[in-house]
Amino acid sequence: MIEVDLALTVDGTGTDPFSVRAALSVADGETLVVLGPSGSGKSLLLEAIAGVREASGSVAIDGSDVTERPPEARGLGYVFQEYALFPHRTVLENVAFGTRYHESTREPMAVLDDLGVADLAERSPDTLSGGESQRVALARSLVIQPDAFLLDEPLAALDAPTRAELRGVLADTLADETAIYVTHDRTTARALGDRVAVLDSGRIRQIGSAKTIFERPASPFVARFTGANCLPRRTVPPSLRERFPEATHVAIRPEHVRISDVETEGTIRGTVVRAIREETAHRVTVARDDCRIDVLTDRPPSAESVAIALPEEHCHPIEADEPQRADQSLL
């Protein structure tokens, strides 16, 4: 169990200092994914939890307040985006690094073996591929049997096949562990997150189960960052406007939007901008007013002008305070 309530300020890139304020808790055995764009403060938050960055507030792990404790006494494991292996030591020495500081540790060779990299034990880190490096870095944390894991974009530096493979390894490894995992990648967030917190400009915009975050976004920002369509009120069909009288926007995931053969009261008409082949479907982008709607479909439309249906049961109303923000999306 991790309970965090932290605030920190760093020199920003511009003239204004950048601040992060976040309160969150992670239950035992749960993986909380902190999802946010670059520069949203994800890594700063993680560093503050680990105690390697100064912050005010409190951090409690398994019920004990570790706020005043140095990083080495917080009982945490940490996996870094760029691995942060000790370049002057062998793989085995890297993995065994923490054994001398902890009473109860796992056998380093056994952990390497579990992760399928036992044959690398005597190698130097600079001879490893990205995927191998990250397995070794993960092993280094597993050996000390930490109370909780912190993972800072561990897949971001890897190529796509390695990323997919290691995502599976992480899913297995973290299944019963308490972990905070920060990433900008919504695919990873959805795959690994029991719960997801969306971070933007140093503030948590929404926190909830992965399903909630991805299907019931609380704001246009969360909708777009999690890959949902976010349609302004004036774009949606009248039936939806009646259904959600207070909504400023309506969110719907691309896989739930359908290209319709018949035009009805519940459909809207738009122009196909492009169709891209993705792994299992076509992503068709349809323009309507100045809004763009993504549709995932098995067969791309042949006509340029199409009718699209927004099934009401998959539509989620958003009441945005800042309608302007919605159109300044990052995506």
Binding site: A50, V52, P71, E72, E82, L85, F86, P87, F97, I144
Partner: protein, 323 residues
């Protein structure tokens, strides 16, 4: 030398050792010929021409040939006097000086005192460098103080050391004038900035994530420093130490003022003897003896310095992974 092999490997600057040796051999022969003919200037011109030809043979293009030719002007200015200096030494005089006990005492002192200064600069300078790399309020002021000796004229540095540590200075019971302590203080004053800056740059280039990894996985600050930061910075610290030592060996002005001649314990003789720091010693022999004599001693000092430099570098490379 204009073979295909030269062309294909010459551009990355690391041709096979055969090519390097061939070029060196040709240069030595050309130097010998020009000296035998009594026309050293011809060799300078040969160096320029051979640079241009080599660049052309390596297919470096017009810009490359121009750069090589211009660059070799500097090489001529640096290497030509050294080559002539080495070539014009009288072997019998060098041999005589090599067996001269006075020269032995000078060499011992000139390695020993800079070594003490380097050790002192490392022991006190590396921790300071670490703090400077971490940054603290006022660190820029401290950094300026550290680098100040670099811009102080060296004779002024000597005067400053005398005022600071000599009679009536900070340590009234410390005798600096003409002592090893005084020489080491003067040498440290002028050379310590190299030790601090070398170590600071090494610490600054550490990946913070690697240090964080050490901390989070159990190391306290001292342990993380000793097991991670220090070994990863060893190369930079060593480079700083070599520069410190080399700077101290070559120091003239400050030592000449603080310790023109030095009384010190000389183990081979088992007694206290008197000698001078190498640059001062050479100056003395130049004033009292002849150019030939001071040239021979300079040649020996140069050889010893280069040998020590190469020995340290080789040792460091054999440590490989750590340094």
């Amino acid at each position: 030398m204009s073979t295909a092999a030269t062309v294909s490997t010459g551009r990355n600057g690391r041709g096979p050792i055969v090519v390097v040796l061939a070029v060196l051999t040709v240069q030595v022969i050309a130097l010998a010929l020009s000296l035998a003919a009594g026309r050293p200037t011809a060799y300078a011109l040969f160096m320029l021409a051979s640079a241009a030809v080599l660049a052309y043979a390596a297919d470096a293009g017009p810009t490359g040939v121009a750069a090589a030719t211009l660059g070799s002007v500097l090489l001529v200015a640096l290497a030509f006097p050294l080559a002539l200096f080495a070539a014009r030494q009288d072997p019998t005089l060098v041999a005589a000086k090599l067996t001269d006990p006075a020269v032995h005492r000078m060499l011992y002192l000139s390695i020993y005192a800079p070594l003490l200064a380097t050790l002192f600069a490392l022991v006190t300078g590396v921790p300071l460098a670490y703090l400077l790399a971490e940054g603290f309020p006022g660190s820029t002021v401290v950094q300026s103080v550290v680098d100040l000796p670099l811009v102080v004229p060296h004779s002024v540095a000597g005067i400053v050391v005398l005022f600071g540590f000599g009679a009536g200075g900070a340590f009234p019971r410390l005798s600096v004038l003409g002592t090893v302590v005084g020489a080491v203080l003067a040498l440290t004053f002028v050379s310590a900035p190299f030790a601090v800056d070398g170590a600071r740059e090494a610490f600054e280039s550490l990946d913070p994530a690697v240090v964080h990894a050490a901390r989070v996985h159990g190391a306290n600050p001292i342990s993380a420093f000793l097991r991670v930061s220090l070994p990863l910075s060893a190369r930079g610290i060593l480079t700083g130490a070599i520069l410190t030592w080399a700077r101290a060996v070559s120091e003239f002005g400050a030592v000449a003022i603080v310790a023109y001649t030095i009384r010190f314990f000389y183990p081979p003789a088992g007694e206290v003897v008197r000698s001078a720091h190498a640059p001062v010693f050479i100056y003395q022999s130049y004033l009292s003896g002849s150019l030939a004599e001071s040239g021979a001693i300079s040649f020996i000092l140069l050889g010893v310095s280069v040998a020590i430099f190469l020995a340290i570098r080789t040792a460091a490379q054999e440590r490989g992974r750590v340094l």
